[in-house]
Amino acid sequence: MKVSVQQDDFDLSTEVRAFRKNPKIGAIATFVGTVREVPMTLEHYPGMTRKALEKIVREAQARWQVLDCTVIHRYGPLQPCDQIVLVAVASPHRGDAFAACEFIMDYLKTQAPFWKKEQTAEGERWVEARASDDAAAARWRS
């Protein structure tokens, strides 16, 4: 398991390759979030971010067969098309890998202390939390 909160970019292939040493793994699901259209700066709560991400990964491990997992979240200034977040999950079969990957992203969106501030043509503005993100996280509780 690897959790990293960093300013630097990451490489999907490198992260996935690190999983392919365990012959029990038969499925790897990955999600990469990227910056859409507007430059932004990501602020976070150092100390808590890592802890929050580790807690989310542990919850996923308790629900599904997760043999390996990598979560990388960037902070600082980012440009359109830059990578923001990577979630990669390795499981024996695809069902667990897909579900755990989506669960981690949904929980990360509502539980990990990151905040986006967009630099628009009209000036800076904080991105508002979306009700649809709360709903996405809530459906795993049923």
Binding site: G33, I84, Q111
Partner: protein, 89 residues
Amino acid sequence: MKAGMKVTVLYFASVKEQLGKAREELELPAGVATVEAVRAHLRERGGVWAETLGESRRISAAVNEDMVAPGARISAGDEIAFFPPVTGG
């Protein structure tokens, strides 16, 4: 009368900007023992404090780096953080 607790309070993102403060050491009056009581205590400063931490505002809180509900109890030496709903990912 029991003396108040000393805690550290952190502010992030839009809350930090509106308050013009990222962090402070605070001595709480006796009886202020939950996260929502700390928020109400800070509101009593009036001005931007009353506005930013107003009851109608959606503000999340953490105690010692764990997200908590408003009724969470606090202890001396705790690190309490107030911030807007998170928007990472």
